[in-house]
């Protein structure tokens, strides 16, 4: 396949993300990377679970957490997962415009989520003096949730870069795999969040 065919395909194939060898490699490689990320987050979850009662005299999880904000953030992130599914749906139908729109919605929801998280951290720090340094619980909480937040931020930058870079030229076999794995990444962030709201917040509230 010549470079010209990749950049300006006459016809989009059924699975544009896997039409080239490079695309297939990216697809498989990224999934493998997510396998590794699973262990990374498991280690962070494990650390949090081991330290969840180590308050060092400071506030504990039951006292700290409120469910309302977490519920709203959860809904935002879950919905963003669906909107990125819509984006991929339009990618497969070779409808670049609609894909960009849905990616835009995804980014907006992700931003709102991040805003919520920052507000929440700020709240804990100022209202409860619960910080990264105040107790082992604090260290592990901010590390786990912060790692996830960092992933969200990176995902947003990544998707926006892709959107801007390709805005003028539309879909081709070179950028389709990039869009596809970005959306895989976004779903993975959502998977991690499902466990965060369950293990950190809900279990923290139960005590």
């Amino acid at each position: 396949m010549s470079n010209e065919d990749i950049l300006n395909p006459k016809q989009m194939p059924r699975e544009p993300e896997k039409a080239t060898l490079e695309g297939k490699n990216k697809f498989i490689g990224f999934w493998f990377f997510l396998g590794g990320e699973t262990v990374l987050f498991a280690s962070l979850f494990g650390t949090f679970l081991a330290l969840r009662n180590s308050t060092a005299g400071g506030p504990g999880t039951e006292e700290l957490f409120g469910l309302e904000l977490v519920f709203i953030m959860t809904m935002l992130l879950l919905t963003s997962s669906l909107t990125s599914v819509y984006a991929m749906y339009h990618m497969k139908n070779n409808d670049f415009g609609k894909m960009q729109v849905w990616l835009g919605v995804t980014v907006a929801l992700g931003l709102a989520f991040l805003g919520g998280e920052l507000y929440e951290f700020n709240h804990y720090i100022h209202e409860y003096e619960f910080t990264f340094r105040s107790s082992a619980l604090g260290s592990s909480f901010y590390t786990l949730v912060g790692f996830h937040g960092g992933h969200v931020l990176f995902g947003l930058l990544w998707i926006v870069t892709l959107m801007v870079r390709n805005a003028k030229r539309g879909l081709n076999l070179y950028n389709a795999p990039k869009f596809y794995i970005a959306s895989l990444y976004w779903h993975f962030i959502d998977v991690v969040w499902v466990f965060i709201f369950t293990v950190v917040y809900l279990m923290g509230k139960v005590g």
Partner: protein, 619 residues
């Protein structure tokens, strides 16, 4: 384009070529040279340790410096010598063995190397910047989190950066093996070396994230005031032990599995026989990889996990002996009935069997959890892991270098010098480490700066030190062999050892595109099948056509350099926040390079059919 650059002969162009290369064969050279240099550094540290322990109550180096030596010896040998040397072999051989023109992610391959390299450089910078890390290569908290100075900071940052490189390399080889095999090469037709690399890469993928997290926690504790390992604020130091060993145990299989692959190739080739029990070997490899994740806590029998956990981990650890035993017997029976030729590569492999059997035996002894209350953290353990890591990994690397040197550099290493290097190393090795089993049982804990008069440990330690000098001599002769071969030996043929696998079907060294036409694989030992049917080489699976090649890039070097700068910022911002500026500069360089990589299309280039027809290697 890299070809254009390569034709300019100047030294600057040569350097530039290696800085920007994405060719797996050149990256193999980079890994080999830098891994080799770090190996010499680690060896020098080992010699200093052995001189310090030459006699009782010795004061050759101070206690603090001694702890730095043992820490750097362990860290260097594992992360900066053994791992990259194995990566050198993977890069040099795996794509050729599966009939691929390159790896799946040439750019990431280069990035992986440069991350490893700069990580190693940061770690070793510590010697000149106020002292090396001194908490042991295991860096148990809180000794490591409270260690004064910046030594352990260098450990954390250096390993974090080189660990990222390793993870990238692991994913790259997984995808390469999954996606890029030549037509006809099913999983059960892959050479065993490729199989072991596949399993090794899987272990890297699942083991390194635990280390990443552990290092982050330690970094946060040391540099940003978190309290994971500060018991006064509710921290728990056992978390580090678990995270380290969840990584650390698979790590030792990451080291040993590739050389199992090497030995499988060498035994088969130099016995002129198909590997005995190929499917059992594959199964054993996978099983070792799988069990490798269930045994880490045997490093922690004396931590106090309780009898239930100790028993479980004792039994799972013993279970690993079964697949390993299967391998030993399969190798023996590969040679059984064969026509054994004792080349240098074969010599190292043959020497491996008794050595590794002893290492495996002491491994089972250590798995006896209760008895480990006596062995743990003594010279018995030191002897055990040197028997498996030197007797296994280092012997394997030497065997592999002798075996694949023509494929990597176009010349066969001198046989006579090869044997001269082997004997002092082999004898020295057993002198150094066999006695250490007894030193441990006689009550000498490991990591002891000095032992005292009247403890009955003097003779054993002296013998051990003498052995170390023999090993050093062996290494020096090997280095001499490398130089001698480069100068004096003639160019090697494509298949100097009557090889069995695909890498021997192409020139030594191969052209940069490896295979002019992708070969068609018709079974295990693809080349052997063709040769036994009287054919000269492989049957092509495709007509001669344009070959797609990746573009070289300086970006991997730039990205890694950015992290290198940021690393110093992280280390020194504890003293003065001004240093944070380095973090921003370094991270800026990294993100900038990533951004460039992301927005600039890089589709590679094509070598045209007509150019290929003009002849091999002249491009």
């Amino acid at each position: 384009m890299s070809t254009a650059v390569a034709q300019k002969k100047g030294f600057g162009a040569f350097i530039w070529d290696y800085l920007t290369t994405v060719d797996h064969k050149k990256i193999a050279h980079l890994y080999l040279v830098s891994g080799g240099l770090f190996f010499l550094m680690g060896g020098l540290e080992a010699m200093i340790i052995r001189i310090q322990l030459m006699k009782p109550d010795n004061e050759f180096i101070s206690a603090g410096l001694y702890n730095e030596m043992i820490t750097m010896h362990g860290t260097t040998m594992i992360f900066l010598a053994a791992m990259p040397l194995l990566f050198a072999l993977m890069n040099a051989v795996v794509p050729l063995q599966i009939g691929a023109r390159d790896v799946a992610f040439p750019f990431l391959n280069s990035l992986g190397f440069w991350l490893f390299f700069f990580g190693g450089v940061i770690l070793n910078f510590s010697w000149f910047m106020g002292g090396a890390p001194d908490a042991g290569w295991t860096a148990y908290a809180p000794l490591s989190t409270t260690s004064p100075g910046h030594g352990v900071d260098f450990y954390v940052i250096g390993l974090q950066i080189s660990g990222a490189g390793t993870l990238i390399g692991g994913i790259n080889f997984l995808v390469t093996i999954v996606n890029m095999r030549a037509p006809g090469m099913s999983y059960m037709r892959m050479p065993l070396f490729t199989w072991t690399i596949f399993v090794t890469s899987t272990l890297i993928l699942f083991a390194f994230p635990a280390l990443t997290v552990g290092l982050f926690l330690m970094m946060f504790d040391r540099m940003f005031g978190s309290v994971f390992f500060d018991v006064a604020a509710g921290g728990n130091v056992i978390i580090w032990e678990h995270l380290f060993w969840i990584f650390g145990h698979p790590e030792v299989y990451i080291l040993i599995l590739p050389v199992f692959g090497v030995f499988s190739e060498v035994f088969a080739t130099f016995s002129k026989k198909r590997l005995f029990g190929y499917s059992a070997m594959v199964f054993a490899t996978v099983l070792i990889g799988f069990l490798g994740f269930m045994v880490w806590a045997h490093h922690m029998f004396t931590t106090g996990m309780g009898p239930v956990a100790n028993s479980i981990f004792a039994v799972t650890t013993m279970a690993i002996a079964v697949p390993t035993g299967i391998k030993i017997f399969n190798w023996l029976f590969t040679m059984w009935g064969g026509s054994i030729k004792m080349t240098s590569a074969m010599l190292w492999s043959v020497a491996f069997i008794p050595t590794f059997t002893i290492g495996g035996m002491t491994g089972v002894m250590l798995a006896v959890a209760a008895a480990d209350y006596q062995y743990h953290d003594t010279y018995f353990v030191v002897a055990h892991f040197h028997y498996v890591i030197v007797g296994g990994v280092v012997f394997g690397i030497f065997a592999a270098l002798h075996y694949w040197w023509p494929k990597m550099f176009g010349k066969v290493l001198n046989e006579k010098l090869g044997k001269w290097a082997f004997w002092p190393f082999f004898i020295g090795f057993h002198l150094t480490f066999f006695i250490q089993h007894f030193l441990g049982l006689m009550g000498m804990p490991r990591r002891y700066w000095k032992f005292l008069e009247g403890q009955g440990l003097a003779t054993g330690n002296l013998i051990s030190t003498i052995g170390a000098f023999f090993m050093a001599l062996g290494v020096i002769i090997f280095l001499w062999n490398v130089i001698y071969t480069a100068v004096k030996e003639p160019k090697a043929s494509a298949d100097p050892f009557d090889g069995r696998t695909l890498e021997w079907s192409i020139a030594s060294p191969p052209p940069f595109y490896n295979f002019k036409q992708t070969p068609l694989v018709r079974g295990l030992d693809a080349l052997w099948i063709e040769k036994s049917e009287g054919k000269k080489g492989m049957t092509p699976a495709e007509p001669l056509g344009d070959i797609h090649m990746p573009n070289g890039s300086i970006l991997p070097f730039v990205m890694s350099f950015g992290l290198f700068i940021a690393g110093f910022g992280f280390i020194y911002q504890v003293d003065n926040p001004v240093w944070l500026s380095l973090v921003f500069i370094g991270m800026g360089i990294l993100l900038g390079a990533m951004f460039v990589r992301s927005v600039k299309d890089d589709l590679g280039y094509h070598i045209h059919k007509e150019d290929l027809e003009k002849g091999d290697g002249q491009l």
